[in-house]
Structures are given as structure tokens and as C-alpha cells.
Symmetry: C2
């Protein structure tokens, strides 16, 4: 606990030097990080092999081991990711608003670093480099707490980046990786209100719930996506089938994948066979209500707990609805505020769906898979915010800032 | 606990009707609220008298009773405040950004209501009307938890406004006042993550600390202001004295009042007597370090715990510093990130102070008392945010919104 506080204090102290360094120096340091990661790829792969061996010994699933595994190509992609962040415009020091008040006070609102950002994440070691680069770019110090299964890889990446920061004259403590953090350490981290300005959990629903319940520092909730596609009665059959196939099956493990399909009763017989055909090609299990099961021999009956499920797997739930309103009410009840889509040819229906569905991203006639920093043109992202404060949707470099008011006067009093 | 959940659910349901009603209808309802408050002023004063009687019986301080007391003039001001909110432009539905992506997807980022906002506040009954109007204006339902000492007054104001909302065809549950809420009820309110999108504590340091420690819903921290003024060696004496007098003594009970004075050693003998003269006129107690006490006969020695204190009283701490850096380090250690000021004639010193001091508002040559929604030109405010997320500084109508991405496509898949 005391040690955690010391770590927080070190990060806070280091951040002031980063903020003073300016963006040219920060970008230079990020480029040095990328170069160092390339140069030390053998070391990073060697450490990664330890994690993989441990994972195999511990009987982790093939999918998890795949996510954990680094290759030359993945390390190269990691370095390129950092270079892209370095090349992006700085988000700090932008004047967002300004006015001269009647009393002559000149007020400006400018963007500033948030301060110290903690990120708690799971499995994939490239997050260490990605998250650090995004935070550093905006002048923030970062405290990283990665998954135990990736600890040697994370340590190697963090050490490499810290060395590069120090070589460029920045404090290495701008990037601190918590090593061997116990459950108590992590709990203490979440309550370091005098050192940590923002905590971002990046991972599964369990991790996010734990952070929400335990943190006293400000949190941006990310990631859980129970995304729906509603097929309106006016939907184009081919478009509906293509969008559902893409949103469900192009990559099942991601938060913007479609988990649940709502189909207007009047369109069911027309569109469902075409959709089912596409899903079968990917061996997607279809869990449907009675009308769906009547129409599809290979559908299995959905239970009540299917509607709220984020499968992250080759499974989709399918429900028949009688109206747009019923679809919206279902999404309000079971959605997680991530990405929701409608397929429709009707103007009023499209407008009402976009107005009334409350989510970070609301689509008409497009796949939910587009909710992504890169696809939105924001560049690298640190997660998808599913809460209402600060930023909603893809969290990019531009969102890792706070603001302050600068007021210049000439002796004004009130 | 179960009852709190039911209240949250009612507010959430009511909010959907408010969001669908549109801004013309909302503004009409706010004008009706103002008219109703004027019309029922006798009733409100009658209920307020009960609170005042109880406060007198319970031996509350004169200052507290003064804050509690409503008059015809105060009720009129309350109604006018609501009318001003009604007349302001709607913050909802603004397009903040938009782009057509290379694949033809049209992405827009638009402002939307946050949803359900809970406000926990103390003493002054006019907050009931102010906070409700600001939240409602932006399409949010509001759950209010006022101070026990103002309960009859709050109830009368809330009832009056609920009646006006219902008369205008909006759900009365857009505004819910928690009556006779126990400590357990309040704790449950802070954890209603599936109903409450934002919780704003508005009150003293104890209330805010309790909310930070107990809430699992997103919180915007407001209000605690340990505001400093740093008198640089180049400061103009008359300007320094005028600004310090205004910032300390124009209104001592507010969060933007100055609590602590830092004076460059080389300016001490020149500026301190002039400042002390102005403070003595208001019977301000001066608690100084050794150099200050040597110079002022009526200063008392400051203890270590004086530096972090938000007195909210006719008391000020005064410390001598050897440099700008020492002043900035002191502010970093003891400041609360609210409002900090420098008095200087030196360009570089002014620039460095504004760049390096991390607070919601950083002033050069002006009183900290200007940190206020009205003074910044934002109109009515619900508090001053002292945290880094979502909004910092005065929280006005424009900040009571979230955003969502609306994406229109033509069958795009990824």
C-alpha cells in the first residue's frame, strides 16, 4: 500500500518534467522508444517465450496463447504503432475557446495533459506499448498493470521504453509498469486519488466491474459490447445478410462484434434464410426465439439469459420484434451503450432509431465493426468508452487531455 | 435500497420522454416552473418558515440560518434564474464534428443528454431550483438529495416544479427529490450504476470526500478551493493589495475565495504592509511564517496545517517564498486544483506560472473570485469542477451533455 503511494508519487513527479519538455521532445522520445523496441526485439522475444512456456505449463487455451505470442512481425507492428502516435499532431496546448469579457479579462480554454493515467489490462503484450505511447503523447505519465500471464513480455517492453525515455532526457518514471502486483496492490492503485487522475480498465467484463466497484479515482469505462443489429421490415435482404455476416463473423473476439439480431416480424421469412446461410458458412450457432426456430431447422432455442450475453464467440442470439419501438426498448434493456445498428430503407425509421437509441455509436446500414479509432480516422486508440462522461466511443490521443482556463487581467477585481 | 432502485428506474424512464419532447417543449416547461414558483411563493415561504424554526430549535449558526432563509426577493431571483436557463440555447443536438470516410461512411458526433443526473447538496434551498433547471435544460432527468435542514423548503420547490412539468405534458419524474433519505439510501443512490449516469456532489469537503469514497457511478468532483495568490517580486503594490483584498474579503464563504498568500521574499517589505492594511479593514486574521510575523505585529504564527486549509472565513495564511519555482511547488503540494493567481509585471514569470500551475483556472493579475459561470459568460452553473475529466472549472448548461456518434452508410462492411 505504502509502496503503491510511492509509485504514484514518482509518476506524478515525472509527469511535471514531461509536461515541461514540450511536444517536440516527447515525439523524439517516442521515436526513440520505437527504435529501441526494434533493436531489442531478440530480448523481447526471449522474454515472451518465457510467458508462452508458462502459459503452456498452466494449460491456457490456444486462443489465449495466440494473443500472448509475439513475433518479429508483431514487434515491428508495435514499433510502427508508436511511430504513428509520434507523427500525430499534439493534442496539448490547443485553444478550444477564448473570449474577452466586458471587464477586459481575457479568458482562454486550452488543452492540458490529464496528468497520471493508470491502465489495467489483460493478456496482449502489445497493449503495453500502445497504451504507453498514447498516454505519453498527450504529456501524461502512465502506470501500467498488465496481466500476470504476460508479465515477462510486458516487463521487457516497458524496460526498453523506459531506457529510451531516459536516453532522451525524460524521466523514466513517466512509464511505470507494476511488476508482481498483488490483488491488494491493485486495489490500492485504484484509490490513489492524490496521484492518479484517470484509470482506464481495458479488458473483459469482470475486470471492468471490479474497477467500477473498487476505484475511487476517476474511471473511464471501456469495452463491454452487447451490440445489436435490428433488421427493419423495409431492409434490403442482401445488405442485411452482408452486414450481419460481417458484424458477427469477421472477428468474434472484439467488443464491436454483433452479439444479437432483432428482426421485424414482417421481414423474418424474407431475410432470415439469407442471413442464416451466411452465418452457417462460419459455423455460427444461432439461438432464436420461437418464430426463428420455426423457420430455421438448425437454430436452438434462446433462453432469457441469451439476450444480455456478450458471447465473443461464434454464437448469435436472434429475436423477432413487432415494431421499431419494441426493438428500441429491447436495446435499452439489454444493450451496453457500445454500438447499435439498424438496416432499413425507410427514412423515418432510420431517423428515429438514431435519435432514440442511446449508445456510443448508432449505425444506419453499416456494420457495427466500424467502431474503432482507426476506422473513425482518430488513429491509435486505448479503448472504446461506453460511459457518458469525458469521451464516448473510440478513445484516441485527442481524448487523453484535460483543459484549463487561462485568464489574463490588468488588476481586475469582482 | 430496493426503493432507491425503483426511484432510479422511474427517473430513467422519465428521461426518455424528456429526450423525445425536444427543446421547445422543455423550455416551455421551464418557463412554467418559473411561473409556478412565483405563483406559489406564499406556500414556499410557509414551508421555509418550518425549516427556519427547526434550525433555530436545533441551535444552527446564524450564518447557516441566513443561507437557509427564503424571502420574496430570493424566490423571485430563483424564478428569474430558471427563466434565464430557459432562454439559453439548447446544448443538445449540436454537431461537434463530422466527416465522410474514404469508404463513404458519414460520421457525425452530436451532443446528447447525459441521462439521469443525481445532485447531492447542502443547505441553500435555491439549489433545488437551479440544479434542476440546468439538468432539465439539457434533457436530463434529475434526482436531488438536499440537506436535512432545508427539507421542507426543498420539498415545496420540487413539488411546485413537478406540478409544472406535468402540466406541460412532461413526466413529473424528470425531477425527483429524495425525501427523508437515510444514510443507507444515500449510499445506495451512489451505487445505482444501471440508472444514474452522473453524480454531482455540491457542498463542503466532507460531503465531497464521502461521495468520492462511496460512489461507483461516475462523479464530477466540485468545489473545494484552497486558492492561492502569489505576489511576484515584480508585482505592482497597489494591484496586489486590491486583488488580495477582493479575493479574500469580498465573500469568504465561497470556493473561489483566496485562502493563502505566497509572497516573494524580495517583495515582502514593499507589498505586505499595503496588503495587511486592506485585510485589517475586514478584520481578516493573518497567519504567517516567521518573516511575515516579523514584519506584522498583528500576524499570528501559522502552523503546518494552515497551508492546506480552506478556511471559508476571515482568515488567510501568508508564506514567504524565494522563487517562482518554490511558489509553484507549494501550490502543487497544497492546492486543490481550483483557482490560482499570480500578480506580476514580468512576462516570463506570468507565462511560466500559467503553464506550470495545474488548476481549473490560472490567473495573471486578477482576482480568483472570477471563477464562476456567470463571470465566464456561461450563465447559470451547477458547481466548479476540480477534477480533470469531462469538464473543468464552472459547470454550466453546456457541460451537462454527453455525445454520440451517428453513422450513416449504404451497406458498408469492414
Amino acid at each position: 500500500m505504502k509502496e503503491m503511494h510511492e509509485i504514484g508519487r514518482r509518476a506524478k513527479q515525472a509527469q511535471t518534467t514531461l509536461a515541461a519538455a514540450g511536444s517536440a521532445k516527447t515525439d523524439q522520445a517516442l521515436r526513440a522508444c520505437a527504435a529501441a523496441i526494434r533493436k531489442k526485439s531478440d530480448f523481447i522475444l526471449y522474454e515472451n517465450a518465457k510467458d508462452i512456456r508458462a502459459a503452456e505449463e498452466n494449460g491456457l487455451s490456444e486462443a489465449l496463447i495466440e494473443r500472448l505470442t509475439l513475433t518479429e512481425a508483431r514487434i515491428d507492428a508495435m514499433a510502427n504503432g508508436i511511430l504513428e502516435v509520434a507523427a500525430a499532431p499534439t493534442p496539448v496546448g490547443r485553444v478550444l475557446w477564448g473570449e474577452t469579457r466586458p471587464n477586459g479579462l481575457k479568458i482562454e480554454k486550452v488543452t492540458v495533459p490529464i496528468g497520471v493515467i493508470a491502465v489495467i489490462y489483460e493478456s496482449r503484450p502489445n497493449v503495453t506499448a500502445d497504451a504507453a505511447a498514447i498516454c505519453l503523447k498527450a504529456g501524461n505519465a502512465v502506470i501500467l498493470k498488465g496481466g500476470k500471464e504476460a508479465q515477462q513480455s510486458n516487463k521487457a517492453i516497458a524496460e526498453t521504453m523506459r531506457g529510451a525515455l531516459a536516453d532522451c532526457g525524460l524521466a523514466a518514471d513517466c512509464l511505470i509498469l507494476l511488476e508482481d502486483a498483488s490483488r491488494e496492490d491493485t486495489a490500492a492503485l485504484m484509490k490513489l486519488n492524490d496521484c492518479i487522475d484517470l484509470l482506464i480498465p481495458r479488458g473483459g467484463a469482470g475486470l471492468i466491474r471490479s474497477v467500477i466497484e473498487n476505484a475511487t479515482v476517476p474511471v473511464i469505462e471501456t469495452g463491454v459490447g452487447n451490440c445489436h443489429i435490428y433488421i427493419d421490415k423495409s431492409a434490403d435482404t442482401a445488405m442485411a445478410a452482408s452486414i450481419v455476416e460481417n458484424a458477427k463473423a469477421s472477428r468474434v473476439s472484439v467488443c464491436n462484434a454483433c452479439e444479437s439480431l432483432l428482426i421485424h416480424r414482417e421481414a423474418l421469412e424474407r431475410v432470415l434464410p439469407a442471413i442464416a446461410k451466411r452465418l452457417r458458412a462460419h459455423q455460427v450457432e444461432m439461438r432464436g426465439d420461437e418464430a426463428v426456430c420455426d423457420l430455421l431447422e438448425d437454430a436452438v432455442p434462446a433462453g432469457e439469459d441469451d439476450w444480455g450475453r456478450e458471447y465473443l464467440d461464434y454464437i448469435i442470439s436472434i429475436k423477432t420484434v413487432g415494431s421499431l419501438e419494441e426493438a428500441i426498448a429491447h436495446i435499452r434493456k439489454y444493450g451496453t451503450g457500445h454500438s447499435e445498428a439498424i438496416v432499413t430503407e425507410d427514412y423515418q425509421t432510420a431517423e428515429r432509431f438514431q435519435q432514440r437509441v442511446d449508445a456510443a455509436a448508432v449505425y444506419v446500414n453499416a456494420s457495427t465493426r466500424f467502431t474503432d479509432g482507426g476506422e473513425f480516422g482518430f488513429g491509435a486508440e486505448i479503448g472504446i468508452s461506453t460511459q457518458k462522461l469525458h469521451a464516448r466511443g473510440p478513445l484516441g490521443i485527442a481524448h487523453m487531455v484535460s483543459e484549463k482556463y487561462l485568464i489574463r487581467g490588468n488588476g481586475q477585481i469582482r
